[in-house]
């Protein structure tokens, strides 16, 4: 058993940590978030130059042949600065689908530009009625003249505003909630019939509602086999859960440490707040939740690397714990900071918002507890 990172991974960890420290203070983050496109193209370029965008791609596709552990290393550090650059949408979601299922031609046309940071993509999976059920897909793709015509609406699509290409999850057969009959297509965002309604999210990122109206694609746009898209989607969603959980663990570390520091400085009733036992115990609870989340994150990530199918139950467990503990740590940090915690002025509020959003993505705590107990 070995929980140590490799030398290479340690170096990357330090390099990301330094990047976040140097570039992601609150003022700068707020500024980047409020200006178009909602992230820094310069930073995205640096991430490409440093090789971070290629870590998780296979060597035969030009990547570094890394796995979910490498993504964990990146995302945990990103979580400490609430990094805005669209790593999840491009690399974990979009890139995850492409590397797993795309034809050599598509891989060749997408992966190198993704790694260079020159192409923006995303994955459109959720729908208005689907809530957290990824198999609930109403958006239809029907075959016509050797190609497909897509009709439907996708919800809360991350990074769609910037995306050049959108991977869209569609129904090609079966009932609306069948795992069979789901197909994935890669569509140009500028295609006729694709309409995006963009808006900000609670955590300062951006999302879109996308309407597909008689959008024509060729059969080459199909990623993976027709009707067999669910397994790919599920594997990518699991990767996204691992990545977001790593980010959440980074955010929780900042929250508990900031709180410990603040309560040692802030005086009320002629004592530092940290002198009060009731507050000490709350901070111990925050610390324990953080450590427990980190343990389960390692467990789920290592199990996924070894056998994704066997890891499914642990992934559910992880997302449940991250959702529940993330909100507990966030709420506690706010409570212990008092009034200042409820303002936009301190960074803890922003970290809390991010944890709240993470709980709402790819299934919340209740959803995964239900999945866990039924598996």
């Amino acid at each position: 058993m070995n929980f140590e990172l490799s030398e290479e991974q340690k170096m990357i960890q330090q390099s990301v940590e330094r990047f976040v420290q140097e570039n992601y203070d609150l003022t700068n983050r707020v500024k980047i978030s409020s200006e178009d496109p909602g992230y820094s193209k310069e930073y995205w370029g640096s991430m490409a130059d440093l090789g971070w965008l290629g870590l998780a791609f296979d060597e035969e596709d030009g990547g570094f042949g890394g796995n979910q552990i490498d993504t964990l290393v990146l995302m945990e550090q990103f979580g400490k600065g609430l990094v805005l650059e669209p790593f999840l949408a491009n690399i974990v979601l979009g890139g995850g689908i492409i590397k797993r299922a795309a034809s050599p031609a598509i891989k060749e046309s997408i992966i190198p530009s993704l790694m260079e940071g020159k192409l923006q993509i995303t994955l459109a999976y959720a729908e208005e009625q689907s809530r957290f059920d990824i198999e609930d897909v109403a958006t239809a793709a029907r075959e016509e003249d050797g190609g497909f015509i897509i009709n439907g609406k996708k919800s809360m699509v991350l990074n769609a505003e910037s995306a050049d290409k959108i991977i869209v999850v569609t129904r090609t057969s079966g009932s609306q909630v069948d795992e069979n009959g789901i197909s994935l297509f890669i569509v140009d965002a500028s295609s006729e019939g694709v309409e995006r309604q963009n808006f900000p999210t609670v955590d300062g990122l951006r999302a879109s509602e996308i309407t597909f109206e008689d959008v024509k694609v060729s059969s080459e746009a199909l990623v993976g086999e027709k009707d067999k898209g669910f397994k790919i989607l599920q594997a990518v969603v699991n990767d996204a859960i691992l990545a977001l959980s790593a980010e959440a663990v980074g955010a929780m570390e900042v929250l508990y440490k900031d709180t410990v520091e603040y309560t040692q400085q802030r005086e009320q009733f002629d004592h530092a707040l940290s002198d009060f036992q009731v507050l000490q115990h709350r901070m111990v609870d925050m610390f324990m939740e953080y450590e427990q989340c980190k343990s389960l994150l390692f467990r789920a990530t290592l199990e996924t690397v070894e056998d994704p199918d066997l890891a499914q139950r642990t992934v559910h467990a992880l997302k449940h714990l991250i959702g529940k503990s993330g909100i507990f740590v966030g709420e506690s940090a706010v409570q212990l900071h008092g009034g200042m915690g409820v303002t936009e002025e301190l960074r803890i509020g922003h970290f809390f918002k991010r944890l709240l959003v993470i709980d709402s993505q790819f299934g919340n705590a209740d959803f995964h507890l239900d999945k866990f107990t039924n598996l």
Binding site: A126, Q129, S130, R131, F132, S155, M156, Q197, F199, P200, T201, V202, D203, A207, E209, E267, Q268, F269, D270, H271, D275, F276, Q277, V278, L279, E331, V334, Q335, G338, G339, G341, V342, T343, E344, E345, G349, F352, K353, L356, V357, S360, Q361, N364, D366, L369, D370
Partner: protein
Amino acid sequence: MLYFAGLRSKKILIFTFIFTNFNTKNMHINLSSDDLAFRDDVRSFFEENKIKAGEDYFSWRLGWFEKAREKGGWDVPKWPEKFGGPGWTPTQHYIWEQETAKANIPFDLPFGLGMLAPILMNYGNEEQQKRFMPDIRDRKVNWCQGYSEPGAGSDLANLKTKAVLSEDGKHYIVNGSKIWTTLAHVADWIFCLTRTDDSGIKQQGITFLLFPMKQEGIEVKPIITLGGSHTVNTVHFTDVKVPVENMIGEEGKGWTYAKGLLEHERTGLAGLSKSLVELEQLKDNARSVQRGNGNLMDDSSYKSKVGELEIDLLATEFTELRSLASAAAGGEPGPESSILKLKGTEIKQRIAKLTVEASGIYSSAWGDKSAGPAFAKGGTAGYLNSRYFTIYGGASEVQKDIVAKKVLGLTKGSSK
């Protein structure tokens, strides 16, 4: 059957609730025929005075309070009869709270009406009462509360804003800063705790002053809260002149005046009647979220959380009624108001959290022009701002210290 009674001296008001009909989901409170008549009166008043289509909101609002006044002090329900209030029984107050939470009535702000007015009644001189109370009653002057400071949050008595008496003894010169001042940016006047003496213990030497906000030397800066809204501010005073006749009571006794009020404020912060209405709204919202052949209220874990919330609300509602009954028998609300604040604010936070959960993937959408069902828009902002409920008006940790010390008699509480 179970009932309990609170007795009020002289009139022997019997404050009786009878739980009947254990077969239905909701408890019933049997009201006397007088109370039922009062309830109908309140309901028809609200119905008759609803805002009409196209009517100007602000003139409707002022007209509404005028008509409420003609009903016999309904514009100032909590004021004592002596000052023009309606002199209701606790049951009538309870009915009023219930009905106002459901009805569409004009907004009202608590600062002048519920916070300053009781202090003026108890500690202000006759001239001050005549000068300030009519405008408060007519909703003509907006007040804000200058209590908390950057270094005096939960430890309010630690306040440092200085008021120094001028050499001629005609006015105080005020210097310092206040924080979390709700609606300071729209307030005409402030009631403010200042320090006139720091030689004794910190609860002494605090002086209660009133002064206009729109004058030189006062700077108001917005604080944007997590929900993205501007309601609270920091307020800075630089050599603000306050005439001595604007001091309430005696110099140095301000803490005593403010403290009694804080207990009133805490009771008000529980907001239970509103939570009852919001709980029903929450259930409706959850029912509108389809899950398979049913809806979110069929989801066992969600349903359990709503159920647990409702149970706490049912209990807390009666804790409030017991507190009202004992107040009617004995006078001021006591430390039990801390229980209400603790439970009431926690309930409000849980309603807000469950709204976020009902919003599902849309809970992360931000702003009116985003996506998702109507209730989801603003739901997350509401939840984020709700975190403030367990902080303002005395943080929950401090409330528990108060209960430990004052109710349980535990002397080693952390806040002395």
